[in-house]
Symmetry: C2
Amino acid sequence: MSTIKDVAQLAGVSVATVSRMINQNGYVSEGAQKRIAEAMTQLGYEPLNRRRLADLSMPTIALILPDITNPFFSELARAVEDVCQQRGYTAFFCNSDNQDYKEKSYLEALRKRRIDGIIYASNYLTQDELDKLEREKIPVVVLDRTSDEQKCTLIRCNNYAGAQMAVKHLLDIGCRKIAHIYGPQEIVTAQERLNGYEDFVKSFSWYTPSLMAPGHFQLDGGMQAVETLLLRHPDIDGIFAGNDFMAIGALKALHRRGIRVPENIAVCGFDGIKLAEIIEPELTTIAQPIYKMGEQAARTIIQQVESAEARSQSEVIEINVSLITRDSTRRD
Amino acid sequence: MSTIKDVAQLAGVSVATVSRMINQNGYVSEGAQKRIAEAMTQLGYEPLNRRRLADLSMPTIALILPDITNPFFSELARAVEDVCQQRGYTAFFCNSDNQDYKEKSYLEALRKRRIDGIIYASNYLTQDELDKLEREKIPVVVLDRTSDEQKCTLIRCNNYAGAQMAVKHLLDIGCRKIAHIYGPQEIVTAQERLNGYEDFVKSFSWYTPSLMAPGHFQLDGGMQAVETLLLRHPDIDGIFAGNDFMAIGALKALHRRGIRVPENIAVCGFDGIKLAEIIEPELTTIAQPIYKMGEQAARTIIQQVESAEARSQSEVIEINVSLITRDSTRRD
């Protein structure tokens, strides 16, 4: 790696002269400027400070995701990427695996590499981290987190209402004992969906907390949850899964056991991933407008990066979910 | 954003002194060093040069993917992320969407941000780009590309042999007219799989080039290709799809038309993504050891980043594929 000293030597000027040129904070003769630029090119030397990056118009934003293998997040990433592309931005993705320490390490790596803005679709962003980012004027847009007083733009769906919509739909088609497969309870979306389910069903005589089983927001988790639920309650006739990924796992487990969907057990997911339309039976789901959410997040962060202040705004953008009825709950 | 000048002012030293300290190329008194460090912290100033990043032990590698929504690549990304995590590296992912200009723009953004190494699982890496990366001592590991004389480590599967394995299997179970859904022909993996198919079947009397239809490596593409193929050849009894994603789309289209798999048409994919086991019927596939490939790529790049020379090596690591038989070709 070349240093500023190598550049100075090759250009036949002092290090201070090179430094003045890089930082645009003093006089450098035209001849020297030319020689320094040539030396930099020849040596592949590129001092990285934000002003220079901006000059070079290579602004870059990062999207921190909890699980890159869940299609919800890869579809979201795709939308972010598309908007960035249109606007001349590049987008990096980071997979935090829902791990506290990984998220911290990504944030540090991104700060050190002078990222221009961050879209945060994961779970452990603390006020302390947000403050650090604000000090360095790196705006942050957060997807799907609590709406406490953290100073940033929040984009979120109404998970609670969506969960109740799912349960109501299952009751409407005749279900009389509905189970819930829930995601990790340290994740607010999983929490809100569970609460929506529980608040809706707790007044029913058939309800008992053992109708809820964890599925970890994963395919395998959805399969295992079905085994657990059938062992506890062989008479369930409806399942609301906290995301589509678990619902698809649940369909698989039910199929393996020869249980017919929707005749014996109807299944409803949450998210609206493309895959929900591809599998058999096609999955009824509470759809979030995934692509739109990604677009909105990307547009918002770019607007903040380009604003004079380059800082986060405290703002909550709430997005509506909707029920999409498909074969997994279609009983005629 | 603070400049080196602000740091110098606050620390009460000259810009040249700050520069000497940053670039470790000259004497700076201990007192000045302390004041400069304090000024940098206070101002949030961080000059980014590779040496300093290395000191801070935040090495970062990037994985450039062609399509983040294809589970093959998200599973690969997951493996890369896991190895990086174990080794104290952070990993950024970039989605190139198989677009030439996007890949170039990512490479530029990564170079400017002094990434320590790049795993390249996309398609348009030129010798010119490789040369640039080599000049800047950024090692590159390439997944699934041609093995011409490009100077980098290549990790690849035997796509040609895998395709022939698929066709042979379909013939073995009794198929007498086998179609092929192929991926984008500018992508070498898609090319090699098509060639494997064609070379194997061209001597058969039933063979005609119209048995090949494009599916663009996408779910929707697989669905459309089935429509095209059935219109041209209603009598096909086997389909080999160039990746699992298209094969899953093909299963969907066949199901919609009431065509039974495998009784009427048997289907074989290529990749071995997890989803292939989840859908109904479960998909027979030519499996690449996806996770292992990701691990191998990550280990190799980290080894090169940490080697004294920090440069790419010309090396080809070939990985074997294997046939996994499931219900989509199980005829009893």
